[in-house]
Symmetry: D2
Subunit: 484 residues, 4 copies
């Protein structure tokens, strides 16, 4: 909840299908299952015998595709789609993906989940030699690299381009004769392959989108892999030499849907184990456990079971969206907060409660939650966070833009506890996180990226190196050996 | 979930505030907390120094009030509002409440939650003597009765009218100089009084709407009571002699929000106790308990704790609305169902699961849930329903229009179990329901209405008597002593 | 143009068809041809084998019926429709007609063009005996009178009601088994009967709406007549004894479309004759004649032909609507005016121009027109108005609410000329108007109502008597013998 | 009217202002005056101290800018805007101009009125070397050429690019420090410079847009000229050597607003002279002259004055737009046509009428007009067209895509007369057109392009040469000496 309310946003979700007469509609379904990964724009491009048709718009999927005719027009046996979280200031339809490019030698569509660390540099170089961009995003860079490549075949051009871009990316591409997925050498973002009963292949950011179209899971795309799907089936190639799995741990903690599996690990179960571990690491005497809905209910169940305390519904989330323009006065603003979350007086009154939340970003939401519970009569409020403290920005696709906004970058756990007004506060340890996710990869942190917790980024930071160094403390600089 | 998906709808929610300069905005907030009681229309009437202003429309609150100016125009220190579930065929704005009447001697607004059992008769009599109606609802009947009363004062006219209408009703009325609430002699619908810190009084269908505006709960309006609020405070009068509490048990089972208290009983806690009781009444050997989100999570927690089984997230509800017009083909229709609910393969695969749901209406949703879980690999699916079988229609404000649509009216529990494809099925007993709600009123069924379970209606059925008798079996007729 | 820009509005247009399978669609077409009579709301009620279906909304016809499904749902072989000009403050959908009433003994729809002079009195009396209203308009009064009548048959009840209401009215009613039109005893508003090739009968405010559905004109409904159309054909009855034709002269001057005929007189031709007469009454030496588009082009053509001067396009009207919210600064406001009307420099520069306009209400638009032409280089601007000075309000259905807003009520022609900055100004005489319309009825003013020019109202003023007497000068009172 | 109804569309209108604090709002006003040049999309880009902000959308200006906030966000002292007619199949927002490009070295906006004859070739060459396009239009080509130029300064790069593109173009460009207009070497499209009282400079497709913002006309941009406007004022340069004026004669005949002046010639006056010339060239005995509203009213006035016949309003155009989705049955389709145009029975019945129209494209509209008039009782209908027969496509910016759609390309005047059902038909001669426009340029056809009438294109046809040669007759090929 804190992650959600305090602006920790995923950049995107992608979905594609090859080999089904209802491809665009299936893509709509798939994107619907991925809507939690981006709510500010959506688009679909279909492949109609080699000719691509596209439609995209701002807002939720149901707002963009608000008329059956939009899907109807996207004819063809293959389609790719994208849901986007738009960073502020870029909220124009020009940035909504998939991007559709039309060339004399064919149409081309491109969708991207992630963030490049050398996007700015590449864009500059390309502009200096005549490159023209229509969007703010660095997604177009890949298209320019492909078109300028001197390699002979398209796949060779693509591989060259994929080796030129750095950072976090899951790309989905549609050409007249094939659909392609590609993952960066660290595999920061998940991407899974499935197959429908009619034989159609499906690629999706999460397995929950395979389920919604009743596709059978085949395998996860691995770091540095490229998958090419056409009418003959699929082939997977490794395009990069140095790969090392470092999947975004926030996928397990907050972003991914609980029904998704990532590299074989069910997200709900991982969260429940994290909650149980948190109970072991940071027990506290209390009457009940309360999860902040909806994202922290799994961890709360784990904490409750491990601690032997009852798991109660002490906070209720309003399932209906309130208009933000109903601008309250200062007095009413406080009441506006209550429109999203309510404390259940009948449950918490006079009780010592342990509140489980997924994370703390700025701390303002946690403070409100504590306040709501205390106003509803809770005797004690103990906050337990099912992830380590967020201290550093992410440069691979999560919108944690500035260190200065992260409360744990500047305050100790005790100071945060005071700020939010809780009776006690504890976070899960990094070891606890790694072990309860349990990927068991032969890689640092068991194959997880935990850079936002400890600054240990698995790649060079490229465009961001300078601003990162300026934002951290001298102690950090010394500690982070990679900068030695 | 089954109740939600299978068309068991509440008719309305009402809210009013007297004595706050931001009355219309507070009413918007209050209705937001009551949105679950009606999603097909909303309206607000404000009282601007005796002159009433109204705005209403079709759809969710956020669709009706989609522009700040609409609230801005509703000036005044008092307001009442209404969210409505529109029965099919009547989906025009004419039926959206509050109704606003303008007379030479003042304006008048009226909102209604419930259903009259003698509405048709009264309407007919009134029409025969020149009465004119603008809506299909029987809400207007009260206004006609008031205006035709020969009593001297408005309150006397109102009392006469309230004694003339029969059935289930919570009325909210706004006049130039007062705001009025009134409850039927059985108190089928909840209605609670609260007070804000500035002294303003608030009336609402549920206490969760008091909480959202930070109003302190004062008391529940009791059956047969009339509350008049004006600038001097409030007065409560009993307008009816024969009252007997029979609050709708579906409020506890499904309709009300878990954070609401009804006659002092917290809804979440009552549901949790019902789940625990269900575990005692109908235990089964299994690996885990799964609640159907969101309405059955409380009962599932109760069942899990009582049975000692882990409470798992085996079903996930998609929080985003999908466009219904995205009409799938027959093959895709099955997938369309998955857009609302997903089974979590990583949790249920190979496991024996107990699924807790709030109720079964037609049975089609339960069948799909069982199917989803089995497809996701569940070894056994045991369905447990946290309420008794629904067998009879409600005539007091819930939209269970026809006995023929209720699967339990025609099939035995064993037959239903076969229909939904579960490995076992059990319902909560009526005694179990009454005891776990625990109102402890000196009234039949502890003050609950359980007529939809056993046909024992607490009032005569008036307009509906004939159709009810035609719809039931001879055995029923014999059993139901009231028809003796 | 001045009439249009300065707020001289018709109240409504009505249309009905009986006996065609596409009745609602034809009604849409008919209302489209009548859109100039009201742009702020529209509605259609169809008769589907005795059951009435309705749809209505705020705005232009194309905004209200913005989706084919709305028309599709209005099934049936008969329909009536209405376009409305909503007076300020009453802009809610509740006031949009036709009103649809549902009674135990059948549905009923009612539409009204005009204004009652005893509407307030009747409403008060009806309210005092229990009558309830949903709209601000006095249209509902007729329905109440019908329903309360003690007469035996519906037609007798209707006739009684029609004799009870006074003022200006053309009513259109739809019942399960017939469609009815009725005109007040003075026939202030036009209403014409036509027949389609398939035999269907059509009633419309103007003959241009008969033309759009290719209906052959049969006859005008006469003052005090009632027409009943059913499957057997039509019958016309006289329901009132004292009738005297006094058709609104503004219909000829401004409201009606030039292609309509009223009582056999073509509106364009009448305007052209008025322009010619104006040339005789008020000639002036000049280089060209300019009509203010679009309403004054006919009169300008008449003036030009009679004077022998060329008829030039010296003013151009922008056919596209500009958003009024594009709020200009004070400097830009002047430019905003130019968005509706432009002077043609290439035509008027250095020329002496005669500008023909239909009327002057407040005078502000005329002032701007003179200014536009002078800025474009016109050497002289002579304003000629093709109607007499507007001095008194209309109580029969035109929105001239207050004498105080009419410049000619307070200023002499010479003073108005100075106010608008013209080099000369002249109006058509009342005699000129009467003779050029040329109805040749044996009635005062040849069958025209000219009350807004001379205060000689053809009926008592009822509700408005007092405010009229207070608004006029002592000289007026003496002159107007009816008040003697 | 025929031009309008039969799909003869202008491609665009452009407008720009430099040096006014309300630049975007003024651009809205200017585009409003140019709305007749394109109704399917609109956009504005403002220059806020060197940073460009843009907004664009599909539909009319009032639909795109439907909220004041959109204009409010376009801050800055300069702005350019564009209204677009979108050719079928390309109706996506991607093609709406101005295009906004963001480079590391600054933002850039570009708008284009016209059509390139070598756009396809250039696009192909640019794509082959890595160029990427986001729209279907060939407007982007100019941007690519500029960015790839090896010239040193931006103006030199621009001049090189302008000399590389061929065909018809009026470009408007916005950079951080200047606003630029450029016209092709033939000046197919008009572009005029004006100045506001505060000193701000304005460039617009037509002078009517200067008038709407009260800008004083300074001069027309001449063929092959480039105008650069910045804070120091404006400079005009000739960028091309071989220029020859060939302004599109359809601007005078149909496209431009009657209040605009093109190269000093008032459009209304030119049309009126054309009508008078037509009366001399093709007189006929009749009772009256009727102009098809609105575009042919000037020519009708000229014909009437020259022939001494009265100019009557025999056809009325409905000023309100009807929804096209109100799909009539075959029977009703005929009536649907009447929703745009009505014949005035009261005027034409029994009369011999001369109908003046601007042009005939497919002939279907003319046929309907004749039919409407005959049904309304006209005794004879003589059609007179105020332009020569349309026989060839335009490649410079008018949407006459195919010869096969032009009735005069395949039928003689006599055959067309029979097709439309008129009693006689005559067109204006090319000489008559040239002389009545009267530009008196020392250039073929007096400086007009008349290629759609006689195939004499003033430039090579580039991309279109092959398809043109295939579409014409052998006689044409022989006649057209340029192909010799």
């Amino acid at each position: 909840m804190s992650a959600e309310l305090e602006g920790l946003h995923e950049e995107c979700g992608i979905f594609g299908v090859w080999g089904h007469p209802d491809a665009a509609r299936l893509t709509y379904f798939g994107l619907h299952a991925l809507q939690h990964r981006g709510q500010e724009g959506a688009g679909i491009v279909s492949n109609d015998n080699g000719e691509l048709h596209g439609y995209r718009g701002l807002g939720l999927l149901s707002q963009v595709f608000n008329d059956n005719s939009q899907i109807e027009r996207l004819k063809g046996n293959a389609a790719i789609g994208h849901v986007r979280y738009a960073t502020s200031g870029s909220g124009t339809v020009d940035n909504i993906q998939p991007f559709l490019f039309r060339f004399y030698d064919g149409d081309f569509a491109l969708a991207h989940n992630g963030n490049l660390t050398n996007g700015r540099q590449l864009r500059r170089v390309l502009e200096e030699t005549g490159g023209i961009y229509h969007s703010n995003s660095d997604t177009e860079v890949l298209m320019h690299l492909i078109r300028r490549s001197s390699k002979r075949t398209f796949i060779e051009q693509l591989k060259e381009a994929l080796n030129t871009v750095h950072g976090g990316f899951a790309y989905m591409l549609m050409k007249n004769d094939c659909m392609i997925g590609a993952l960066d050498p660290n595999g920061f973002r998940p991407l899974s392959l499935g197959q429908m009963t009619n034989g159609a292949y499906v690629l999706a950011s999460e397995t929950c989108a395979l389920d919604i179209v009743s596709a059978r899971f085949i395998r996860d795309i691995q770091p540095g892999e490229l998958i090419i799907i056409n009418d003959d089936g699929y082939t997977i190639e490794k395009y990069a030499d140095n790969t090392q799995k470092a999947i975004c741990s926030m996928e397990f903690i907050y972003f991914a849907r609980p029904d998704s599996n990532i590299y074989g690990v069910n997200v709900h179960s991982a969260r429940k184990r994290a909650g149980a571990r948190l109970a072991q690491e940071s027990p506290v005497e209390a009457d009940m456990v309360i999860g902040v809905p909806n994202s922290s209910l799994s961890a709360a169940a784990g904490y409750a079971e491990a601690s032997g305390l009852p798991n109660e519904m002490g906070l209720v989330k309003n399932q209906y969206v309130a208009r933000t323009f109903i601008q309250p006065t200062q007095e009413l603003r406080e009441q506006g907060v209550r429109m999203k979350l309510s404390a259940v007086r009948g449950v918490v009154e006079g009780k010592r409660v342990i509140v489980i939340d997924d994370s703390i970003v700025r701390g303002t939401t946690s403070r409100r939650i504590v306040q709501l519970l205390k106003e509803a009569g809770a005797a004690e409020v103990h906050m337990r966070i099912a992830s380590p403290p967020l201290r550093y920005p992410c440069y691979y696709g999560i919108d944690i833009s500035r260190t200065s906004e992260l409360i744990a970058a500047h305050k100790s756990v005790q100071e945060i506890c005071e700020f939010i007004g809780a009776d006690s506060l504890a976070y899960l340890s990094i070891d606890g996180l790694v072990e309860t996710v349990g990927l068991q990869e032969d890689a640092p942190y068991g194959g997880l990226c935990v850079a936002y917790f400890n600054g240990d980024y698995p790649t060079s930071l490229g465009d961001y190196e300078k601003e990162f160094l300026e934002s951290i403390t001298p102690e950090d600089k010394e500690r982070l050996t990679r900068f030695a």
